[in-house]
Amino acid sequence: MNDNARFEFLLRMGDNALVLAQRLSEWVGKGPVLEEDIALTNVGLDLIGQARMWLSYAGEVEGAGRDEDALAFRRDQHGFRNLLLVEQPNGDYAETTARQFLFDRWHLLALGAMTRSRDERVAAIAAKAGKEVAYHVERSSDWVIRLGDGTDESHARMQRAIDGLWMYAGEGFLPDATDDAMAEAGIGPDLAALRAPWREGVAAVLAEATLALPADDFAQRGGRQGRHTEHLGHLLCEMQFLQRAYPDARW
Protein backbone atom coordinates (compact mmCIF):
# COMPACT_ATOMS: atom_id res chain seq x y z
CA MET A 1 0.00 0.00 0.00
CA ASN A 2 1.31 3.45 -0.75
CA ASP A 3 0.07 6.70 0.69
CA ASN A 4 -0.82 8.11 -2.71
CA ALA A 5 -3.51 5.45 -3.10
CA ARG A 6 -4.83 6.27 0.37
CA PHE A 7 -4.86 9.98 -0.46
CA GLU A 8 -6.85 9.29 -3.65
CA PHE A 9 -9.25 7.03 -1.76
CA LEU A 10 -9.89 9.72 0.88
CA LEU A 11 -10.41 12.38 -1.79
CA ARG A 12 -13.02 10.21 -3.48
CA MET A 13 -15.00 9.84 -0.26
CA GLY A 14 -14.63 13.52 0.62
CA ASP A 15 -15.49 14.80 -2.85
CA ASN A 16 -18.66 12.70 -3.10
CA ALA A 17 -19.90 14.29 0.10
CA LEU A 18 -18.73 17.80 -0.74
CA VAL A 19 -20.13 17.98 -4.27
CA LEU A 20 -23.51 16.51 -3.33
CA ALA A 21 -23.73 18.86 -0.34
CA GLN A 22 -23.10 21.81 -2.66
CA ARG A 23 -25.87 20.59 -4.99
CA LEU A 24 -28.28 20.25 -2.06
CA SER A 25 -27.42 23.75 -0.87
CA GLU A 26 -28.82 25.04 -4.18
CA TRP A 27 -32.26 24.03 -2.87
CA VAL A 28 -32.01 26.04 0.32
CA GLY A 29 -34.88 28.48 0.56
CA LYS A 30 -36.77 27.04 -2.40
CA GLY A 31 -37.66 23.47 -1.42
CA PRO A 32 -41.12 22.38 -2.58
CA VAL A 33 -42.45 22.32 1.00
CA LEU A 34 -40.95 23.61 4.22
CA GLU A 35 -40.23 20.13 5.61
CA GLU A 36 -38.32 19.19 2.48
CA ASP A 37 -36.38 22.43 2.42
CA ILE A 38 -35.28 21.63 5.96
CA ALA A 39 -34.54 17.98 5.17
CA LEU A 40 -32.39 18.83 2.14
CA THR A 41 -30.45 21.33 4.22
CA ASN A 42 -29.94 18.78 7.00
CA VAL A 43 -28.71 16.12 4.61
CA GLY A 44 -26.39 18.65 2.99
CA LEU A 45 -25.07 19.65 6.40
CA ASP A 46 -24.34 16.04 7.35
CA LEU A 47 -22.46 15.63 4.07
CA ILE A 48 -20.44 18.83 4.57
CA GLY A 49 -19.39 17.57 7.99
CA GLN A 50 -18.39 14.23 6.51
CA ALA A 51 -16.49 15.94 3.68
CA ARG A 52 -14.52 17.93 6.25
CA MET A 53 -13.48 14.76 8.09
CA TRP A 54 -12.41 12.96 4.89
CA LEU A 55 -10.61 15.94 3.34
CA SER A 56 -8.80 16.87 6.56
CA TYR A 57 -7.48 13.35 6.76
CA ALA A 58 -6.61 13.39 3.03
CA GLY A 59 -4.57 16.54 3.59
CA GLU A 60 -2.69 14.93 6.48
CA VAL A 61 -1.95 11.80 4.45
CA GLU A 62 -0.76 13.85 1.50
CA GLY A 63 1.61 15.78 3.77
CA ALA A 64 1.92 18.72 1.41
CA GLY A 65 0.44 21.28 3.77
CA ARG A 66 -3.03 21.33 2.20
CA ASP A 67 -5.92 21.42 4.66
CA GLU A 68 -9.61 20.73 4.06
CA ASP A 69 -10.20 24.25 2.73
CA ALA A 70 -7.26 24.14 0.34
CA LEU A 71 -8.54 20.84 -1.03
CA ALA A 72 -12.13 22.04 -1.33
CA PHE A 73 -11.51 25.49 -2.78
CA ARG A 74 -8.18 25.36 -4.64
CA ARG A 75 -8.53 22.31 -6.85
CA ASP A 76 -9.74 22.49 -10.44
CA GLN A 77 -12.32 20.07 -11.74
CA HIS A 78 -9.76 17.53 -12.96
CA GLY A 79 -8.51 17.30 -9.40
CA PHE A 80 -11.93 16.23 -8.11
CA ARG A 81 -12.57 12.54 -7.55
CA ASN A 82 -16.32 12.33 -6.97
CA LEU A 83 -18.76 10.00 -8.69
CA LEU A 84 -20.34 11.52 -11.81
CA LEU A 85 -23.75 10.86 -10.24
CA VAL A 86 -23.42 13.45 -7.46
CA GLU A 87 -22.45 16.34 -9.77
CA GLN A 88 -25.56 15.99 -11.94
CA PRO A 89 -27.84 19.05 -11.77
CA ASN A 90 -30.81 19.21 -9.41
CA GLY A 91 -33.38 19.19 -12.23
CA ASP A 92 -36.91 18.73 -10.94
CA TYR A 93 -37.70 17.18 -7.58
CA ALA A 94 -37.81 13.70 -9.07
CA GLU A 95 -34.26 14.08 -10.39
CA THR A 96 -32.96 15.42 -7.08
CA THR A 97 -34.69 12.51 -5.33
CA ALA A 98 -33.43 9.86 -7.77
CA ARG A 99 -29.85 11.13 -7.54
CA GLN A 100 -30.02 11.08 -3.75
CA PHE A 101 -31.60 7.63 -3.64
CA LEU A 102 -29.10 5.98 -5.98
CA PHE A 103 -26.17 7.59 -4.17
CA ASP A 104 -27.44 7.07 -0.60
CA ARG A 105 -27.85 3.35 -1.17
CA TRP A 106 -24.26 3.07 -2.49
CA HIS A 107 -22.94 5.36 0.25
CA LEU A 108 -24.44 3.36 3.13
CA LEU A 109 -23.09 0.06 1.82
CA ALA A 110 -19.63 1.54 1.24
CA LEU A 111 -19.54 3.10 4.72
CA GLY A 112 -20.85 -0.12 6.29
CA ALA A 113 -17.91 -2.01 4.78
CA MET A 114 -15.47 0.71 5.85
CA THR A 115 -16.44 0.40 9.51
CA ARG A 116 -14.25 -2.72 9.37
CA SER A 117 -11.32 -0.79 7.84
CA ARG A 118 -7.84 -1.52 9.15
CA ASP A 119 -7.25 2.22 9.12
CA GLU A 120 -8.78 3.24 12.46
CA ARG A 121 -9.50 6.79 11.35
CA VAL A 122 -11.35 5.55 8.26
CA ALA A 123 -13.36 3.16 10.44
CA ALA A 124 -14.22 5.96 12.89
CA ILE A 125 -15.38 8.37 10.18
CA ALA A 126 -17.38 5.61 8.47
CA ALA A 127 -19.09 4.61 11.73
CA LYS A 128 -20.09 8.18 12.44
CA ALA A 129 -21.16 9.00 8.87
CA GLY A 130 -23.03 5.71 8.50
CA LYS A 131 -25.41 6.53 11.33
CA GLU A 132 -26.32 9.75 9.55
CA VAL A 133 -26.61 8.17 6.12
CA ALA A 134 -29.09 5.57 7.44
CA TYR A 135 -31.53 8.48 7.80
CA HIS A 136 -30.66 9.77 4.33
CA VAL A 137 -31.43 6.39 2.78
CA GLU A 138 -34.73 6.09 4.57
CA ARG A 139 -35.85 9.54 3.48
CA SER A 140 -34.81 9.27 -0.19
CA SER A 141 -36.35 5.77 -0.43
CA ASP A 142 -39.61 7.11 1.05
CA TRP A 143 -39.73 9.84 -1.57
CA VAL A 144 -39.05 7.49 -4.49
CA ILE A 145 -42.04 5.45 -3.31
CA ARG A 146 -44.23 8.46 -2.66
CA LEU A 147 -43.57 10.03 -6.07
CA GLY A 148 -43.44 6.75 -7.99
CA ASP A 149 -46.67 5.46 -6.50
CA GLY A 150 -48.28 8.90 -6.59
CA THR A 151 -50.09 10.68 -9.41
CA ASP A 152 -49.62 9.89 -13.12
CA GLU A 153 -47.47 12.99 -13.40
CA SER A 154 -45.22 12.20 -10.41
CA HIS A 155 -44.92 8.58 -11.53
CA ALA A 156 -43.85 9.58 -15.04
CA ARG A 157 -41.32 12.09 -13.76
CA MET A 158 -39.87 9.68 -11.21
CA GLN A 159 -39.44 6.99 -13.86
CA ARG A 160 -37.82 9.49 -16.23
CA ALA A 161 -35.42 10.58 -13.48
CA ILE A 162 -34.39 7.01 -12.62
CA ASP A 163 -33.92 6.16 -16.31
CA GLY A 164 -31.96 9.34 -16.97
CA LEU A 165 -29.52 8.91 -14.08
CA TRP A 166 -29.14 5.16 -14.35
CA MET A 167 -26.02 5.36 -16.52
CA TYR A 168 -24.27 7.14 -13.62
CA ALA A 169 -25.47 4.75 -10.92
CA GLY A 170 -22.98 1.96 -11.57
CA GLU A 171 -19.68 3.87 -11.39
CA GLY A 172 -19.26 3.16 -7.70
CA PHE A 173 -19.03 -0.57 -8.34
CA LEU A 174 -16.17 -0.41 -10.86
CA PRO A 175 -12.87 -0.65 -9.00
CA ASP A 176 -9.61 0.66 -10.47
CA ALA A 177 -6.01 0.17 -9.33
CA THR A 178 -6.49 2.56 -6.40
CA ASP A 179 -9.51 0.64 -5.14
CA ASP A 180 -7.70 -2.68 -5.58
CA ALA A 181 -4.76 -1.39 -3.53
CA MET A 182 -7.10 -0.09 -0.80
CA ALA A 183 -9.13 -3.29 -0.66
CA GLU A 184 -5.98 -5.39 -0.54
CA ALA A 185 -4.63 -3.30 2.34
CA GLY A 186 -7.93 -3.78 4.19
CA ILE A 187 -8.58 -0.04 4.18
CA GLY A 188 -11.23 0.39 1.50
CA PRO A 189 -14.23 -1.74 0.51
CA ASP A 190 -14.42 -4.35 -2.22
CA LEU A 191 -16.58 -2.16 -4.47
CA ALA A 192 -17.68 -4.91 -6.85
CA ALA A 193 -19.10 -6.86 -3.90
CA LEU A 194 -21.44 -3.96 -3.07
CA ARG A 195 -23.30 -4.24 -6.37
CA ALA A 196 -25.55 -7.20 -5.50
CA PRO A 197 -26.88 -5.84 -2.18
CA TRP A 198 -27.27 -2.40 -3.77
CA ARG A 199 -29.27 -3.79 -6.66
CA GLU A 200 -31.44 -5.80 -4.32
CA GLY A 201 -32.25 -2.76 -2.19
CA VAL A 202 -32.88 -0.49 -5.17
CA ALA A 203 -35.07 -3.09 -6.90
CA ALA A 204 -37.21 -3.55 -3.77
CA VAL A 205 -37.87 0.19 -3.45
CA LEU A 206 -38.58 0.62 -7.17
CA ALA A 207 -41.03 -2.30 -7.05
CA GLU A 208 -42.88 -0.73 -4.13
CA ALA A 209 -42.86 2.56 -6.03
CA THR A 210 -44.43 0.80 -9.08
CA LEU A 211 -41.38 1.88 -11.10
CA ALA A 212 -39.46 -0.19 -13.61
CA LEU A 213 -35.85 -1.18 -12.95
CA PRO A 214 -33.87 -0.03 -16.02
CA ALA A 215 -32.65 -2.95 -18.12
CA ASP A 216 -29.46 -1.50 -19.56
CA ASP A 217 -26.63 -1.69 -17.03
CA PHE A 218 -24.11 0.38 -18.98
CA ALA A 219 -22.17 2.49 -16.47
CA GLN A 220 -20.37 5.68 -17.42
CA ARG A 221 -17.17 6.07 -15.47
CA GLY A 222 -14.50 8.73 -15.12
CA GLY A 223 -15.41 10.96 -12.18
CA ARG A 224 -13.27 9.04 -9.72
CA GLN A 225 -10.33 9.44 -12.09
CA GLY A 226 -10.92 13.18 -12.58
CA ARG A 227 -12.83 13.08 -15.88
CA HIS A 228 -16.11 14.84 -15.27
CA THR A 229 -19.32 15.84 -17.00
CA GLU A 230 -19.66 19.49 -17.99
CA HIS A 231 -21.71 20.19 -14.86
CA LEU A 232 -18.92 20.01 -12.27
CA GLY A 233 -17.00 23.04 -13.54
CA HIS A 234 -20.07 25.25 -13.19
CA LEU A 235 -20.71 23.96 -9.69
CA LEU A 236 -17.10 24.70 -8.68
CA CYS A 237 -17.30 28.23 -10.15
CA GLU A 238 -19.94 29.06 -7.61
CA MET A 239 -18.55 27.02 -4.71
CA GLN A 240 -14.99 28.29 -5.08
CA PHE A 241 -15.67 31.87 -6.15
CA LEU A 242 -14.92 33.58 -2.87
CA GLN A 243 -11.64 31.81 -2.15
CA ARG A 244 -10.51 32.25 -5.75
CA ALA A 245 -11.36 35.95 -5.88
CA TYR A 246 -10.16 36.73 -2.36
CA PRO A 247 -7.61 34.06 -1.44
CA ASP A 248 -7.45 33.28 2.28
CA ALA A 249 -10.47 35.47 3.02
CA ARG A 250 -11.87 34.73 6.47
CA TRP A 251 -15.03 35.72 8.27
Binding site: M53, K131, Y135, S141, P197
Partner: protein
Protein backbone atom coordinates in the same frame (compact mmCIF):
# COMPACT_ATOMS: atom_id res chain seq x y z
CA UNK B 1 -22.29 11.23 34.24
CA UNK B 2 -18.78 11.67 35.56
CA UNK B 3 -18.60 8.02 36.51
CA UNK B 4 -18.76 6.79 32.92
CA UNK B 5 -15.83 8.76 31.59
CA UNK B 6 -12.13 8.92 32.35
CA UNK B 7 -11.42 10.84 35.50
CA UNK B 8 -7.89 9.71 36.21
CA UNK B 9 -6.86 12.57 38.47
CA UNK B 10 -8.44 13.22 41.84
CA UNK B 11 -9.29 16.67 43.02
CA UNK B 12 -6.35 16.58 45.43
CA UNK B 13 -3.91 15.89 42.62
CA UNK B 14 -5.09 18.61 40.34
CA UNK B 15 -2.52 21.33 40.16
CA UNK B 16 -4.72 23.43 37.93
CA UNK B 17 -6.55 26.40 39.43
CA UNK B 18 -9.49 24.18 40.26
CA UNK B 19 -9.94 20.46 40.79
CA UNK B 20 -11.42 18.19 38.15
CA UNK B 21 -14.70 18.02 40.04
CA UNK B 22 -14.96 21.77 39.64
CA UNK B 23 -14.12 21.36 35.96
CA UNK B 24 -16.95 18.87 35.54
CA UNK B 25 -19.33 21.21 37.36
CA UNK B 26 -18.36 24.06 35.02
CA UNK B 27 -18.81 21.82 31.96
CA UNK B 28 -22.22 20.73 33.23
CA UNK B 29 -23.28 24.38 33.20
CA UNK B 30 -22.55 24.80 29.48
CA UNK B 31 -25.84 24.47 27.60
CA UNK B 32 -26.25 22.98 24.15
CA UNK B 33 -26.54 26.10 21.96
CA UNK B 34 -29.63 24.82 20.17
CA UNK B 35 -31.40 23.00 23.01
CA UNK B 36 -30.52 25.05 26.08
CA UNK B 37 -32.40 22.82 28.57
CA UNK B 38 -29.67 20.20 28.29
CA UNK B 39 -25.95 20.65 28.85
CA UNK B 40 -23.11 19.26 26.79
CA UNK B 41 -22.44 16.83 29.65
CA UNK B 42 -26.11 15.71 29.67
CA UNK B 43 -25.81 14.95 25.96
CA UNK B 44 -22.76 12.77 26.52
CA UNK B 45 -20.57 14.99 24.34
CA UNK B 46 -17.86 15.34 27.00
CA UNK B 47 -16.03 12.03 26.98
CA UNK B 48 -13.27 12.78 29.42
CA UNK B 49 -11.23 15.34 31.28
CA UNK B 50 -7.59 14.91 32.14
CA UNK B 51 -4.88 17.11 33.57
CA UNK B 52 -2.35 18.43 31.08
CA UNK B 53 0.51 20.54 32.38
CA UNK B 54 -1.03 23.45 34.27
CA UNK B 55 -4.37 23.05 32.54
CA UNK B 56 -6.74 20.35 31.37
CA UNK B 57 -7.58 18.60 28.14
CA UNK B 58 -11.28 18.03 27.51
CA UNK B 59 -12.17 15.23 25.14
CA UNK B 60 -15.33 16.02 23.18
CA UNK B 61 -17.22 14.00 20.61
CA UNK B 62 -19.42 15.81 18.09
CA UNK B 63 -23.06 14.73 17.88
CA UNK B 64 -23.51 15.01 14.09
CA UNK B 65 -20.65 15.46 11.60
CA UNK B 66 -22.02 18.73 10.28
CA UNK B 67 -23.48 20.13 13.47
CA UNK B 68 -22.82 23.87 13.16
CA UNK B 69 -22.85 24.21 16.94
CA UNK B 70 -19.63 22.21 17.40
CA UNK B 71 -17.27 25.19 16.99
CA UNK B 72 -19.36 27.25 19.36
CA UNK B 73 -19.31 24.45 21.94
CA UNK B 74 -15.52 24.21 21.76
CA UNK B 75 -15.28 27.95 22.36
CA UNK B 76 -17.77 27.78 25.24
CA UNK B 77 -15.66 25.10 26.92
CA UNK B 78 -12.47 27.13 26.68
CA UNK B 79 -14.24 30.28 27.91
CA UNK B 80 -16.27 28.49 30.58
CA UNK B 81 -13.18 26.93 32.12
CA UNK B 82 -11.15 30.13 31.80
CA UNK B 83 -13.84 31.73 33.97
CA UNK B 84 -12.92 29.38 36.84
CA UNK B 85 -9.22 29.86 36.20
CA UNK B 86 -8.53 26.69 34.23
CA UNK B 87 -6.69 26.70 30.93
CA UNK B 88 -8.32 24.13 28.66
CA UNK B 89 -7.50 22.49 25.37
CA UNK B 90 -10.28 20.65 23.55
CA UNK B 91 -9.57 17.41 21.77
CA UNK B 92 -12.14 16.06 19.28
CA UNK B 93 -12.67 12.30 19.48
CA UNK B 94 -14.49 10.54 16.64
CA UNK B 95 -14.58 7.03 18.03
CA UNK B 96 -16.64 5.61 19.54
CA UNK B 97 -19.29 7.47 17.58
CA UNK B 98 -21.69 9.53 19.66
CA UNK B 99 -24.97 7.87 20.54
CA UNK B 100 -28.12 9.15 22.21
CA UNK B 101 -27.80 6.17 24.58
CA UNK B 102 -25.29 8.33 26.46
CA UNK B 103 -27.98 10.84 27.36
CA UNK B 104 -28.95 10.88 31.03
CA UNK B 105 -32.48 10.04 32.16
CA UNK B 106 -32.75 13.42 33.82
CA UNK B 107 -31.86 15.12 30.54
CA UNK B 108 -34.57 13.11 28.79
CA UNK B 109 -37.12 14.31 31.31
CA UNK B 110 -36.08 17.93 30.79
CA UNK B 111 -36.32 17.50 27.01
CA UNK B 112 -39.89 16.23 27.34
CA UNK B 113 -40.85 19.16 29.54
CA UNK B 114 -39.33 21.47 26.93
CA UNK B 115 -41.62 19.95 24.27
CA UNK B 116 -39.15 17.63 22.56
CA UNK B 117 -39.86 13.89 22.70
CA UNK B 118 -36.69 12.27 24.09
CA UNK B 119 -34.88 9.58 22.09
CA UNK B 120 -35.80 5.94 22.42
CA UNK B 121 -33.11 3.32 22.51
CA UNK B 122 -30.65 3.52 19.62
CA UNK B 123 -29.02 0.76 17.67
CA UNK B 124 -27.63 -2.19 19.58
CA UNK B 125 -23.86 -1.91 19.23
CA UNK B 126 -22.79 1.66 19.03
CA UNK B 127 -21.27 1.66 15.58
CA UNK B 128 -23.53 -0.95 14.00
CA UNK B 129 -24.88 0.22 10.68
CA UNK B 130 -27.96 -1.36 9.19
CA UNK B 131 -26.98 -1.35 5.51
CA UNK B 132 -30.59 -1.95 4.49
CA UNK B 133 -31.11 1.70 5.24
CA UNK B 134 -33.76 1.40 7.90
CA UNK B 135 -33.16 4.14 10.40
CA UNK B 136 -33.76 3.71 14.15
CA UNK B 137 -37.03 5.60 13.63
CA UNK B 138 -38.47 2.48 12.06
CA UNK B 139 -36.19 -0.18 13.44
CA UNK B 140 -37.42 0.14 16.96
CA UNK B 141 -40.92 -0.91 17.91
CA UNK B 142 -41.08 1.92 20.41
CA UNK B 143 -43.83 4.43 19.80
CA UNK B 144 -43.06 8.10 20.26
CA UNK B 145 -45.50 9.59 22.77
CA UNK B 146 -46.58 13.18 22.21
CA UNK B 147 -44.67 15.40 24.69
CA UNK B 148 -47.76 17.60 25.09
CA UNK B 149 -50.69 15.20 25.58
CA UNK B 150 -48.89 11.83 25.98
CA UNK B 151 -50.94 10.24 23.20
CA UNK B 152 -49.19 7.37 21.45
CA UNK B 153 -51.12 8.03 18.23
CA UNK B 154 -48.29 9.96 16.60
CA UNK B 155 -46.96 9.98 13.06
CA UNK B 156 -43.59 10.71 11.44
CA UNK B 157 -43.77 13.79 9.20
CA UNK B 158 -40.11 14.06 8.17
CA UNK B 159 -36.83 12.40 9.16
CA UNK B 160 -35.28 15.83 9.62
CA UNK B 161 -36.45 18.68 11.82
CA UNK B 162 -35.18 22.08 12.88
CA UNK B 163 -31.77 20.60 13.67
CA UNK B 164 -29.98 17.50 12.39
CA UNK B 165 -30.62 15.65 15.65
CA UNK B 166 -34.41 15.90 15.49
CA UNK B 167 -37.20 14.42 13.39
CA UNK B 168 -40.63 15.97 12.87
CA UNK B 169 -43.69 14.20 14.23
CA UNK B 170 -47.34 15.03 14.56
CA UNK B 171 -49.79 13.99 17.22
CA UNK B 172 -53.02 12.57 15.77
CA UNK B 173 -54.95 13.41 18.94
CA UNK B 174 -53.97 16.96 19.90
CA UNK B 175 -52.92 17.67 16.28
CA UNK B 176 -49.77 19.43 17.43
CA UNK B 177 -46.53 19.00 15.52
CA UNK B 178 -43.51 18.22 17.70
CA UNK B 179 -39.81 17.42 17.53
CA UNK B 180 -38.46 13.99 18.31
CA UNK B 181 -34.82 13.73 19.36
CA UNK B 182 -33.73 10.94 17.02
CA UNK B 183 -32.17 7.80 18.44
CA UNK B 184 -28.67 7.78 17.05
Amino acid sequence: MAGMVDDPVTIEDARAGAGLAAVWRALSAIPDPEIPVVSIVDLGMVRGVAREGEGVVVRVTPTYSGCPATDLIVRSIVEGLAAIGVRARVEIALAPAWTTDWMSEDAKRRLREYGIAPPGSAVPGRSAIDVRGISPLRRSDVTVPCPRCNSTRTRLTAQFGSTACKALYRCEDCQEPFDYFKPH
